[in-house]
Symmetry: C2
Amino acid sequence: MTEEEKKEGVAAVAEVSNKQVVLKAYITDGRAPRKDDMAVTVSTLPELKAPKGSGGFLVKNLYLSCDPYMRGRMRPPSPASYIPSFLPSRPIEGFGVSEVVDSDNPEFQAGDFIAGMTGWEEYTLIQKPQQLRKISRNHAVPLSYHLGLLGMPGFTAYCGLYELCSPKAGEFVFVSAASGAVGQIVGQLAKLEGCRVVGSAGSATKVEMLTSKMGFDAAFNYKEEADLDAALKSMVSQHAVTDSGPGIRNISNVIVKRIKMQGFLQSDFLHLYPRFLDHVTAHFLAGDIVYVEDVDDGLESAPAALAGLFTGENIGKKVVRVVPPESRNSMN
Amino acid sequence: MTEEEKKEGVAAVAEVSNKQVVLKAYITDGRAPRKDDMAVTVSTLPELKAPKGSGGFLVKNLYLSCDPYMRGRMRPPSPASYIPSFLPSRPIEGFGVSEVVDSDNPEFQAGDFIAGMTGWEEYTLIQKPQQLRKISRNHAVPLSYHLGLLGMPGFTAYCGLYELCSPKAGEFVFVSAASGAVGQIVGQLAKLEGCRVVGSAGSATKVEMLTSKMGFDAAFNYKEEADLDAALKSMVSQHAVTDSGPGIRNISNVIVKRIKMQGFLQSDFLHLYPRFLDHVTAHFLAGDIVYVEDVDDGLESAPAALAGLFTGENIGKKVVRVVPPESRNSMN
């Protein structure tokens, strides 16, 4: 409270500091994000409460998800994309796993765990829940897996494989960025369908992981294969490209090789989310699917964690753990 | 006959000259074909007969089709593509409409009209018929239309529209290269399905033709639209590209706009050819579909006719008429 408030005799309330990761300014060219595009700042909350009448609820963020699509939100708001740009100087938004601290919404209560869109900060007041679900706690499933295996990336893998590709036993499946948040699930689900699965990734460690840990039939390092053309070399690295870079020059292969290239967003298929959760959770609990995460600790690590996606530094799904386990009250 | 044959007393037979369009040499870079990549030469046939025991039949070629895919056959034979390279110094091959002159094959008789793969020459001995069909003469359908409306381009339009796109009334259909051999049919078939159809082409004349003659709802000149990106500007011009040129840089639109890009070859669907012929012939005879051809006379015009496809000089389906109507015996 300010000196003025003290003079006026306002009742003293303990303010709470709220560390945040903010976007400093929009990236106006086609480059990949850098950690210094973001800054870690500290703001304050008047108290750990959801304001009465707000209809919202205050959450403590536990895990934050670093995803390549977030690059698109670092662009200026015009021309508009499928998802709004971030606001400069405001906390970055992304998928997170959070615990409800206080609620003015009858559907959520303190102690509930949720996964959905939240802020890159310690505490977030959520007033318009986006793609949000309550987590049924199952101690066999790490909470952070709700950002990957059971979150948007896993659901993307599920929709792409089953809804667009309809794999049949014996078919060949090739997965690029195969050790990433989505790719590792695509490959393992395809193996469960009886497909022969080949993956590519950008380091020897990742390639080894694909065959030894995730059961891919074969894998290769696309940076070291001399005879691969531009199409195979442009994978996650293309996320930042606007009008620079080489582009895809062998597009005529789409005709000659009868290729179907189909774009989708997981959000087009949200009605399938419950079926996805049942399917993948069951296979995970049965030991049929493994999931590799790459976890950094603390909000201070978040800018480098996000930027590292675009240089391939993460091995598996990149997650920022906001609150170290030893300082929590109520969870694993 | 040679001097030696005369000395040996061989019976004199009237040789027949056979003008041919040959490929001079393979095009080894990514450029478009030029008319001087081809030459017009004259060879001879001993007589206008299919050799006994050959199982083949000799045809007189009436119309030859100029198609963009033929650029792919001007490449060196390695790496192999879906269709073999032409042979240097030998007549170019392509779709043609021909009349059987003599036959050693019981399925074909002198006087039959056929459409299928033939040589760019006056007479061709066909021993292995490829995608060949006899034409049931209907004087309401110009013979040359069997190269376009009722030939490979029309069938490509039919397969692409019905088998891959499954148009429904009220949907929007965009056709690039819309005044070309395939595009004009795609647009008119889509209109018959109740779609709203927009086409792009490369000149004011072509654009005007799309709306005034072919019933497109709207059309524009892609060379004059300032706000079109690289994807719209790379149409037939991309046929010659190998690894030069700008490539496609806005491929991320495939995801955001949920685009399905699917390659196919009409030859994958040949079982549908009879159904296509019935469908399109009926609509043509009913006056629902028009077809615009751009016809040049004489084999001498063929090299420039083929090269002109890649600079957009043709207005409609490009055809070379080998034999002017006044010098024929038996057809329109």
